[in-house]
């Protein structure tokens, strides 16, 4: 039996989204020290701690008040991140999830393509809020090429699993590609050329989110 193809309704339901958040929360917890040490080099050394606090809170919020549909789950995650993380990551990641969730509306089941389009809305929201473009050494450097890869994969008729997997691969390589860049946004920008030679912590955490998404797609019940 082959994988569902892009044209098929992938039928991602609320359970899939809870699984994605669960995998993201676990990945952030596991990589907390690495994210924090990346941040120590060019920021203030708390990115892992702050995101871990946020996703722990998001996980608890979803358990306390189980959402009824995918969009509600992501809006709830975004709102919780905004209320619990602080710093720049709270509003930025919170906006990604809130806008993605709002774009999904009240559908009980969404296709891979609908999810990709919703993530595009989330990305547009975060770019409007933070003002970052590709090359500024931020999470946007990961989101833009990963989303492009996902949309291209789905359009080419690749399997849904393959398209999300390729997007996660692109995300991870895009995070590493921030190493030589000079930061133009956020606290790392104060360092000027001294920000070069370090992976951006926000790009690194964004890659975790994309990998978790690919794993949830790969692991979903068919």
């Amino acid at each position: 039996m082959s994988d569902a193809h892009a044209g098929d309704a992938a039928g991602l339901e609320v359970g899939f989204f809870l699984d994605w958040i669960e995998r993201t929360a676990s990945a952030v917890a596991a990589e907390k020290e690495r994210l924090t040490s990346l941040d120590a080099a060019i920021g203030d050394g708390d990115h892992g701690t702050n995101l871990d606090r946020g996703f722990t809170a998001a996980r608890a919020a979803l358990e306390a008040k189980p959402p009824e549909f995918p969009g509600a789950a992501l809006v709830q995650v975004g709102t919780t991140l905004i209320s619990s993380v602080g710093g720049a990551s709270g509003p930025l990641y919170g906006t990604v999830f809130r806008r993605t969730g709002k774009a999904l509306g009240e559908a009980e089941s969404v296709s891979a393509r609908e999810l990709a389009d919703a993530i595009a809305a989330g990305l547009a929201g975060v770019q409007k809020l933070g003002g970052a473009s590709v090359g500024d050494k931020t999470m946007v450097d990961v989101f833009v090429p990963a989303l492009d890869a996902l949309l291209a994969g789905l359009a080419d008729g690749a399997s849904v699993d393959g398209a999300f997997g390729a997007a996660a691969d692109v995300a991870e390589s895009a995070a590493r590609s921030t190493i030589p860049l000079r930061a133009r946004k956020g606290r790392a920008s104060y360092l000027g050329e001294r920000s070069e030679g370090h992976e951006d912590p926000g790009a690194a955490s964004a890659a975790l989110l994309w990998r978790a998404l690919a794993e949830s797609v790969g692991g979903r019940a068919r």
Binding site: T36, R53, G87, K185, L191
Partner: protein, 334 residues
Amino acid sequence: MSSMKKLINSPESVVSDALAGLAAAHPGLTVDVERRIVRRAAHASTAGKVALVSGGGSGHEPLHAGFVGPGMLDAACAGEVFTSPVPDQMLAAAQAVDAGAGVLFLVKNYTGDVLNFQMAAELLEDEGIESRSVLINDDVAVEDSLYTAGRRGTGATLFAEKIAGALAERGADLAAVAGVAERVNATSRSFGIALGPCTTPAAGQPSFQLGEDEIEVGIGIHGEPGRRRAPMAPAAELAGLAVEAVCADLDFTGDAIALVNGMGASPLLELYVVYNEVQAALKSRGVSIVRNLVGNYVTSLDMPGFSVTLCRADADLVDLWDAPVNTPALRWGA
């Protein structure tokens, strides 16, 4: 690896424990330890006054909670160490202190603070409460360009909180109070130098490594390295560097209010040595210090070092500066 020794119970509880201590030490403040909001206890007396709300990451004490009280802030929100507080806190603080004349948010220019206060202002508008936000961005070490997050808010935050606070106390409206805060920011500049790193309670390790004879020049207030590393030098030279950087950016010829600010771990003995050099260097440039502060006001945890902030002083600003203030960290004339 062993962690730096700290006077804490745990890194997780340090902010809450400190706020509980602030509450115990200052009955003039109402402290919501859980939501991390500090406000004046006797708030009823401020009916019709513009409310001043600020906030930011913890680790800069006495900024901001230490400046809550008559003549200065109405409320302050504390975030995690070096992490902006969240919009919910700012909204709750603003709602608690709004006295019908609107709310002025004083925001240090850091991406996190800007985004969270922006969200709070939107939420407050939904509640029908008028607000204005003034960004403080006085640190000349950062090039203000498309290629940075813009200049950081440092020592001028204290000037803006004091002077706008005094004007609000006199019954000025929101536009006037915001206007004077903007004027203070536009005519203030700062520059900082660190002799060593700081250590956040969560990290337990220094924020950067410096050689025995090295310093970081052009630092902010979050333990981040500066714009460049330089060899250690006598206080006269370091003070000269800071004065040169500040005065190269804005002409301060005439009267000025000066802050020689400790970053947290430099003794007052040394800060007065620096102040003496700063006033001498300014004098030779035709700048007279008409009011000053020397001490730890806008700190970066346990960082050794100092910053210099100047504000152009005209009669109006000096009059507002001299107005009574009664807060944990700044108190005169009251």
